[in-house]
């Protein structure tokens, strides 16, 4: 089974790395945002999207690049499942996977304790399985799954 593990940078990538023990169990690869600091990771193939944040005026260009790049990666790698720990930069890949009838597991961030992320709200509609990491978040996402935190 080929599994794509994807996230944006910072805490989201940290959370993705908490799933490290699963990487070796599948034909895995990682898609995450390119940052200035070194994401030294050699265990599985890693591909970089452009860092997007909504405050940057050029974020739309970066996002558009990521859409194209995600199509390319998806076409080349053909994952059966996409597992995302959020946020924005992982939306294209998740939606492309759904478009091609593949499965998506979305994990809402550990940092969100009582309100959703924008990406979470979008992905709640599309994800096959949606995890939250705090019991209070079940009020926001009633059909989500809660079994504790990723850390």
């Amino acid at each position: 089974m080929r599994v794509c593990f994807t996230s944006s940078s910072g805490g989201h990538f940290e959370q993705l790395l908490m799933l490290k023990s699963l990487f070796a169990e599948y034909d895995s690869f990682i898609v995450t945002e390119k940052t200035k600091y070194n994401q030294n990771f050699s265990e599985v193939p890693i591909y970089f999207t452009k860092q997007v944040n909504r405050q940057n005026v050029t974020y739309f260009i970066a996002f558009f690049y990521n859409v194209l790049f995600s199509f390319y990666i998806f076409g080349v790698k053909r994952p059966d499942i996409v597992v995302s720990t959020g946020v924005l930069s992982t939306i294209p890949l998740c939606l492309i996977a759904k478009l091609f009838r593949k499965k998506v597991i979305y994990i809402e961030s550990f940092a969100k304790i009582n309100s959703p992320t924008l990406t979470g709200r979008v992905m709640y509609k599309f994800a096959d399985i949606f995890y939250v990491q705090w019991p209070e978040m079940l009020k926001v996402y009633p059909k989500a799954k809660y079994i504790g935190g990723i850390y």
């Binding site: 599994v3 910072g10 805490g11 030294n40 499942i81 992320t117 799954k145 935190g149 850390y151």
Partner: protein, 162 residues
């Protein structure tokens, strides 16, 4: 040693650096300080600092430090707590242009309520909070990672089968 960790977001967090710099310069903090400042603009003069370092070095500094002063990012908070470090967390505030929103307040407030760390909202309280953290006992972080990974594995096996 104090390790200051301000995260990877493309926003400055100058008010924290300025405060620590002035406390260090005034001799109010005697310990060695090292800082990872990320995208901040202010450059402290009284202690060693850098934008980013490789993960191995980062981990070494975490290991070496007694106290971590950090932004309200989950990555650094959990990493520090798992190592049993004293943590002083300052949430990035959008009104100072430190983030796009105020979500860091959520984790910092909750973790402070659960007695995992010290929450710092006004940097002027830093000296006081730093002093308090040295006396106080905090709760140990219990990982639920193994449970989470097992459940996720079951889901992957289940929905991955066609």
């Amino acid at each position: 040693m104090i390790f200051v960790v301000l995260g990877s977001q493309k926003f400055q967090f100058d008010r924290v650096l300025k405060k620590i710099d002035s406390l260090k310069n005034a001799g109010k903090i005697k310990e060695e300080i090292i800082a990872q400042v990320g995208y901040s603009n202010y450059r402290p003069s009284s202690f060693e600092n850098f934008d980013f370092i490789e993960k191995e070095m980062f981990d070494q500094y975490i290991e070496k430090a007694d106290t971590i002063i950090c932004h309200g990012g989950t990555g650094v908070i959990i990493t520090a707590l798992k190592k049993g470090k004293k943590v002083i967390a300052i949430p990035r505030d959008s009104k100072y242009g430190e983030h796009i929103d105020d979500h860091q307040f959520q984790i910092v407030a909750l973790f402070s309520k659960l007695n995992y760390l010290e929450a710092l909202y006004d940097v002027d309280d830093l000296e006081k909070v730093l002093h308090r953290s040295k006396q106080k006992k905090y709760r140990t972080f219990q990982s639920t990672n193994a449970v989470f990974v097992n459940e996720l594995r079951k889901d992957i096996e289940k929905i991955g089968k066609r």
